[in-house]
């Protein structure tokens, strides 16, 4: 009985081997084919931004082949980079993002440390609460926040609306919960022995944080920093609601409100501005892709 099955199995096995490797080769070809399609789909808008940004407005309105630049010119770049208004937007965006990243880190790192290591009354509830806050979207809060800041201005006489620095108060509501959340995950994964050793050696809590936790969880810290930067650089709704004067605008809102004048779209400049606005996150991403992805996946896998 057994010898019969072996005899029968032997030839089919070799045939199957051949077909499997052929299958594999075809699967690979199909994978590359579809990946190329998806990559084209993914990269189409940024590439089209680049193509348009190199065209003069005459070439754009001549409606020649949109996918090709016949007379490449840098006039859009020169035009934007010498315009004080655009540089002002860029400067505002940079200022807001850098401050927000600093504020976020100063709030979320100690909080994450306390929540991950120093269990105290209500700490578990607070950790869940932080996570829930992360789920509250900006489009739910912008109207009450606008009113709250308007009322604050009426009561105290300190007018915050239509000042770029009002964003420093608002953006942390988007960045802090997520950063705290992923830092809790990173801190919790540090072995307890490490901080026990530090405490035994006489380190204070503050020293344990700065000498042990921050260096060990540096990859997480970088991921959180990148996240905070990308969010504050890309945020569109809050600056659209809270700032209106052209000298207070950040980049995304600035491009949309000043380069689009009524029905006149200066597409060459708009695409140049959009590309320059997309550049900082893209550059960070190009150099720190692994941290970027770590931060992205940590949100759901570490939870």
């Amino acid at each position: 009985m057994s010898s019969v099955t072996i005899d029968k199995a032997a030839p089919t096995r070799t045939v199957k081997y051949g077909s499997m490797s052929r299958d594999r080769k075809w699967a690979l070809r199909w994978s590359y084919f579809f990946l190329t399609l998806f990559a084209i789909f993914s990269l189409l808008p940024p590439i089209y931004m680049l193509i348009t940004s190199l065209k003069s407005s005459a070439e754009i309105s001549a409606a020649t082949n949109p996918w090709w630049v016949f007379h490449p010119t840098l006039e859009n770049y020169v035009g934007l980079l010498t315009s004080n208004q655009f540089l002002r937007f860029f400067w505002n965006s940079a200022l807001v993002s850098i401050f927000v990243v600093t504020i976020t880190m100063l709030i979320s790192v100690p909080a994450a440390f306390a929540l991950a290591r120093m269990r105290f009354w209500g700490s578990a509830t607070l950790a869940t609460g932080v996570f829930l806050t992360y789920l509250i979207p900006d489009s739910l809060l912008f109207i009450p926040l606008f009113k709250v800041f308007a009322l604050f201005g009426d009561w105290t006489g300190i007018q915050l609306i239509n000042r770029w620095y009002v964003l420093l108060f608002i953006y942390p509501t988007l960045t802090v919960p997520f950063c705290t959340w992923i830092m809790i995950g990173y801190f919790a994964s540090i072995p307890k022995e490490l901080d026990e050793a530090a405490i035994i050696d006489g380190a204070s809590w503050f020293q344990t944080l700065t000498r042990i936790f921050i260096p060990v969880a540096l990859p997480g810290l970088i991921a959180a920093t990148i996240f905070a930067f990308t969010v504050s650089w890309a945020q569109f709704l809050y600056p659209l609601v809270f700032t209106t004067s052209t000298d207070q605008l950040v980049l995304p809102v600035g491009i949309i409100t000043t380069l689009i004048k009524g029905d006149v779209f200066n597409w060459g400049q708009i695409m140049t501005g959009a590309l320059l606005g997309a550049a900082p996150p893209l550059i960070i991403y190009a150099f720190l892709m692994d941290y970027y992805i770590a931060g992205l996946t940590a949100g759901a896998t570490k939870g």
Binding site: S31, W67, M118, D138, L237, L240, I256, G277
Partner: protein, 312 residues
Amino acid sequence: MADVALRPDGIGTAQPARKRSGLQKALKRRSTAAFLMTLPLIILIALLVIYPAFYSLHLATLNKSMQKFVGLGNFEFLFRRDTFWLVVKQSCIFAITAVVFKALIGFIVAHFVHNIPAKGQRKWRGMLLVPWVIPPAMSTLAWLWLFDPSYSAFNYTLSFFGIGPIPWTGDAAWARFSVILVNVWYGAPFFMIMYLAALKSVPDQLYEAAAIDGANWWQRIWYVTLPMMRNIIAITTLFSLIVTFANFDIVRILTAGGPLDHTHIFATWAFRIGIEGSDIPLGASVSLFMVPILAVAAIFILRDVNKRGNEA
């Protein structure tokens, strides 16, 4: 181990008393320190998230000039308006369709990336994640230009195939399609990355065992991959549902709700009414309609997160 056991004996008898008071002090210091460290976080969340959230409940009960209490008047007014029901319908269509396509495309692309040799995966993953990295406001501008009524690069290309100019953002049905397309373009990479991470965590032995048992590729996906990835799929989908439901940037820039309110979703309509139309209470009431769906999604996410926490 031996050192630890020896030390108390070696230090002697004077230790216990000092040790306890030191411990008490440390405990006291520890909870105060912990509280101080979380205080900024608590203040931030309380003042700028929880307070405004409840304040919007209060706002929703006021009249336009915010001087008179009207109870549920704003909601009554909304229920009688056709535009409101249009917005509800569109929000649901938009969010559900976009999330389904994002999840499907993300799943398929993740498989393709996982399929190719590990050496090249980084490069492909890097290219495919670009849509997620570009600020959505910026990339939507590029889409707006690709969809331009008179200079659309898509229509230029399609004209070679004899397909007539498509009114990408001019016609209600096409505008809905365009908005969803851009959202899928922006969000699918996120799913791809999540699924790829999940795929990598499925042990190879399971696939080997399935292959030995004679499972074909479909059975391998259905009986091995999907059950192993169930948690990630659930969490990613719920996350994305929240984000897509609350989306603002893409719709605002691409169509601004037009043509004739046919692409408005909750966020853009609330902005139009509350900020542009300066009827803050009505705008607040509109955005409050996002809460039930967000709450349901949040409950499910939280359940999954806690379950995972218990497993670990």
